[in-house]
């Protein structure tokens, strides 16, 4: 049971793929200007990491090691195409907003990283949990970043106006910088900063 918890919860905290391993930053900048695409992207990546980890783990004893990267890519690409098709069929507007980024899940470093580092050497159930945990860890950061960017950049959350009109009349303005990609990087930086301040054991010591 503790193993179960460890695999699922740790990637949300001390082994978070975004803030600790610093993987998957590229899509983190691209889809976090609003909360809704961030949620869908998070969910899609979580499904792909969990299922690809599960499938690769089931196949791991039969995969010839010389072509293992190609096999991993084929599995990931298949899942991503399926998700893209599903979004186009059942969530068309979101799929338009995410546009190329759904396809780019294939190149998301977290997925290949987990396949190589975990799924090839662990059982299916553990791998599934590890994928789920890492996907959720990625989603968590995406949602936090998107929350701040949409709130301060557009004054809305999930498309609903949150900052009251009276604020604007009093001279408040949306921060245009929040909408631009660099702000995502700055917010991720701030999250990493807060996380490391609260967990001093995570700070690297300078090696001379």
């Amino acid at each position: 049971m503790s193993n179960f918890k460890k695999l699922l919860i740790e990637p949300l905290r001390k082994s978070n793929p975004v803030t600790v391993l610093v993987l998957g930053i590229c899509s983190c900048l691209a889809v976090t200007a609003q909360l809704k695409p961030a949620l869908v992207m998070g969910a899609s990546v979580t499904v792909v990491t969990a299922l690809s980890n599960l499938i690769i783990s089931l196949l791991r004893k039969g995969i010839p090691s010389r072509i293992r990267i190609i096999v991993q890519l084929v599995v990931v690409a298949t899942l991503v195409i399926l998700i893209d098709q599903f979004l186009k069929a059942f969530a068309y507007d979101v799929s338009k907003q995410l546009s190329v980024y759904v396809g780019l899940i294939i190149t998301n470093c977290i997925i290949m990283g987990r396949l190589e580092a975990f799924a090839l050497s662990h059982g299916p159930w553990e791998s599934f949990l590890d994928g789920l945990g890492n996907g959720l860890g990625y989603s968590l950061i995406l949602v936090i970043v998107a929350f701040f960017r949409e709130l301060f950049g557009s004054g809305t959350l999930l498309g609903y106006q949150v900052i009251p009109q009276s604020f604007y009349e009093a001279g408040y303005q949306n921060n245009g910088l929040m909408i631009l990609p660099p702000m995502a990087l700055i917010i991720v930086g701030v999250i990493i900063w807060i996380q490391r301040t609260r967990n001093p054991e995570m700070q690297e010591t300078n090696q001379k």
Binding site: I63, P64, S65, V71, T78, I81, Q85, Y92, I179
Partner: protein, 180 residues
């Protein structure tokens, strides 16, 4: 089961062949199953765009298939489709034209892969609003349309301009017929 060397060439060929066939079957099945849903979404989107160009929330659209495709909204507004090239990919849109064949009621644009925040701005209401009320004909001839381009998106704006000019040129016979 016979124990095989999983790193032998024969096994690698067999493995990759089987894997690829399974994946191909899976993807084809999914594509065929989901196609009707996707088509319906595209139809809906087209409908929304036509109605948005005409500036009404809901109405009846009839497709008049002559030499040139024209949509007739509520039997009074003509909507003509446009297709063109942006900077990175196709752009398209609709012009809603009043029954006089000259006054623009509205316009609607969309794009496949223009840069969000630059060329992507052609989908915003702010860009599309400026077309309402413009005249496309003067003294029985086509009048080049003028609009504010988007700063930082010269290529996309040029593409929109070219698309509009080409379409209106093509539709000249249609406007001739409308002339009262």
């Amino acid at each position: 089961m016979m124990k095989r060397d999983i790193n032998s060439n024969g096994y690698i060929f067999l493995y990759s062949t089987i894997l690829v066939v399974i994946v191909a079957v899976l993807l084809t099945a999914a594509a065929l199953w989901l196609q009707p849903f996707q088509e319906r979404n595209k139809e809906n989107e087209k409908r929304t765009m036509i109605l948005a160009a005409a500036g009404i929330a809901d109405g009846e659209i009839t497709f008049c298939d002559g030499e040139l495709p024209v949509y007739l909204v509520n039997d009074s507004i003509f909507v003509i489709p446009m297709k063109g090239k942006g900077l990175w990919g196709p752009i398209w849109g609709y012009f809603a034209i009043a029954p006089d064949g000259s006054t623009l009621i509205g316009a609607n644009f969309d794009h496949k892969s223009e840069t969000p925040g630059l060329g992507g701005e052609i989908t915003t209401e702010k860009f599309q609003r400026q077309f309402s009320g413009k005249q496309i004909r003067e003294n029985g001839r086509l009048k080049p349309i003028e609009f504010d381009a988007i700063t930082g998106a010269t290529k996309t704006s040029d593409g929109v301009k070219k698309m509009i000019d080409n379409t209106l040129e093509t539709y000249t016979p249609f406007f001739e017929k409308l002339k009262p």
